[in-house]
């Protein structure tokens, strides 16, 4: 049972205590340890911790051990800003997180001014359009993911009408705005546009609205817990699918909470612990052994972020230089043959947007099954 959260805290304290020498390289994780996005933030952080432990066990970056500090944004932009300021005061080499897009927006300015590279978990489309030269994603922005799922809806599902249910926060709204654009471009009509609250528990009325719309397919875009509740309610009321989503609808936590209600949902997943790639499977096994739960895509994001920093610093720079790191990463591709722990070949473009292969998946018998691999957009 994941009841007790003392484990990660203790290990983090040990990490901090053990690696407190002056010749250490400091990394700061500023993310959602509590609040409504705590699940995602926790996964990301644990991915980071796993990477840091592995790297330190192998000698560190350029022979210096990593000292990781953790700060909680409480999924609140005001708090995020103050915590980020605190992190910056500690002069970290690189900042990891936040995951919640609203928190990324609230803290970007500070990091830009301090010229500290930050590898974020946020997926809201606009984050890479704001001119921050130090920002790098660890997973697709919504403007990359949505065209892929829109293609799937048009080509595989052959749906002409979509009923959309989305969560009213940065993440959900950004996804909705992006999706609407993509659907319009493909002449697919949006016949229901149902917004829901973050943390909402009762979806009876919303599912009724979806039913009334009688669409060819239902698109569910919300945080994991709400996706689970929506699916349960949908099955309860006999809402007919097919159900489509992006990443969150098919994530491990959603499947766990929704039980049988999740079976049959389909969607696009940028990153997944169930990818048919040996390196990913090994990572998943290590993560599970270390933390006693299966990681979701956020765990992979955190893990690969730390290794990306290691790779660039050691193989491309040979020294610790924040500005040079940011410059080098623009337009950089890291392949598993260069750095196995990157798991999947990853390319960053000149605004920090990421490009990778991604997957189409379906939930079958309580497991996420990959049905297709989608190629990278570039190259």
């Amino acid at each position: 049972m994941r009841g007790m959260k003392l484990g990660p805290v203790v290990s983090a304290l040990l990490l901090m205590a053990g690696a407190a020498g002056a010749a250490d390289v400091k990394l700061a994780y500023v993310g959602e340890i509590s609040g409504s996005i705590a699940v995602s933030g926790g996964n990301f952080r644990d991915g980071v911790i796993l990477a840091v432990e592995e790297i330190n066990a192998a000698g560190g970056i350029l022979k210096e051990k990593i000292a990781l500090s953790q700060l909680d944004t409480q999924t609140n932009p005001g708090v995020a800003r103050s915590q980020m300021q605190k992190a910056i005061d500690g002069e970290p080499y690189v900042v990891l997180g936040p995951i919640f897009s609203g928190n990324v927006k609230a803290t970007m300015q500070l990091l830009q001014q301090a010229e500290i590279p930050h590898l974020i978990g946020g997926e809201a489309g606009e984050l890479t359009t704001l001119g921050d030269r130090f920002l790098f994603r660890t997973s697709f922005g919504q403007q990359i993911g949505m065209p892929k799922i829109a293609n799937f809806i048009r080509d595989e599902l052959k749906a002409k009408t979509i009923a959309l249910i989305w969560v009213n926060n940065d993440f959900g709204k950004g996804g909705r705005d992006n999706l609407m654009k993509q659907l319009a471009e493909r002449n697919i009509k949006l016949v229901a546009d149902v917004s829901t609250e973050s943390g909402q528990v009762d979806f009876a009325a919303d599912v009724v609205k979806l039913k009334a719309a009688n669409a060819d397919a239902v698109f569910v875009y919300s945080n994991e817990e709400e996706c689970a509740r929506i699916m349960r309610e949908a099955r309860k009321q006999g809402l007919k699918g097919p159900f489509v989503g992006d990443t969150t609808l098919l994530s491990q936590k959603t499947i766990e909470l929704a039980g049988d209600a999740a079976n049959g949902v389909m969607g696009h997943v940028g990153l997944t612990a169930d990818a048919p790639i040996p390196a990913v499977a090994e990572f998943t096994a290590r993560f599970q052994k270390r933390f006693n739960y299966k990681p979701d895509h956020n765990g992979i994001k955190g893990y690969t972020a730390v290794y990306a920093v290691k790779y660039v610093t050691e193989k491309k720079l040979g020294k610790f230089d924040r500005k040079a790191l940011a410059q080098v990463m623009h337009g950089l591709t890291i392949a598993p043959k260069d750095e196995p722990a990157i798991l999947i070949e990853t390319t960053w473009d000149n605004v920090g947007e990421i490009d990778r292969i991604s997957f189409l998946a379906e939930v079958v018998n309580g497991q996420q099954k990959i049905t297709k691999i989608l190629p990278k957009l570039g190259k």
Partner: protein, 292 residues
Amino acid sequence: MADILQLLVAGLATGAIYALVAIGFTLLWQTSQTINFAQGEFVMLPAFFVLIAMSYFGLSFWPAVAVGTLVSIIVLGALFKRLVVDPMIRHGVLPLVIATIGLAILMKEAVREFYGADAQPFPPLAADINVTILGVAFAMQSLVVLAIGIAAVVALQLFLNRTRTGRCMQATAQNPTAARLLGIPVERMILYTFLINGALVALASILITPIYLAKFTNGEWLGLYAFIAAIVGGFNQVRGAIAGGLLLGVVDNFAAAYLSSQYRMALPLLILIVVILFRPQGLLGRIEERTV
């Protein structure tokens, strides 16, 4: 048409939950002038008692439910009264309100810290199937919740009106001084209301958590809706709480289905403001005389 019936049944089911929680809230106010801002968290907590009984002590579902209800009655009923309400009631209403706000924070954080921040699944009372009545499909769970909710309310009303103890409790609520003069053990009656509240919140918890999933934030909105239901229905009458709860559940569901979903919460809030300003005794309440 099918949709309207389904919305109605879903609304009544949710409304029955609000009613249970609002009744407890109203009883506490009537007998001891306690405004319990932590009522929402009181509903969040018993589900965790059950989960702990199941996972740590290895009980199966129904015994765990019994244990959880008992713990709820003792902790959220008797202990709450002894440790929180009694010391504070002599200072007046406001300190107690503040203390219950503090209590709500304490309970929420304790669950988050010691149990976990993630939502947990909770075993349902009924199978996840649909029942077709008159050609309309209704979720079994909704019907079960509605049935149990109504049964509980009816049982409570019978208790309050037909039994001696119940009538003594009503007397205590209406006029404690006169009740004392008549030889009614007022202190014990007040204790009973707290115990009943403990049982009611436990029942509400077990009914809703299968659908809402057990999470430490469950109390937030639920508490607010319970207050609205109690006030709109009538803060000083139990049947007010029932009417308010059912009305609120139905209105909320219909508003969400047919009005803007972004402003879904606004309708209950507006109703609350209108009722307080123009009919503070609520739909079914008695007018409270102001003490001079």
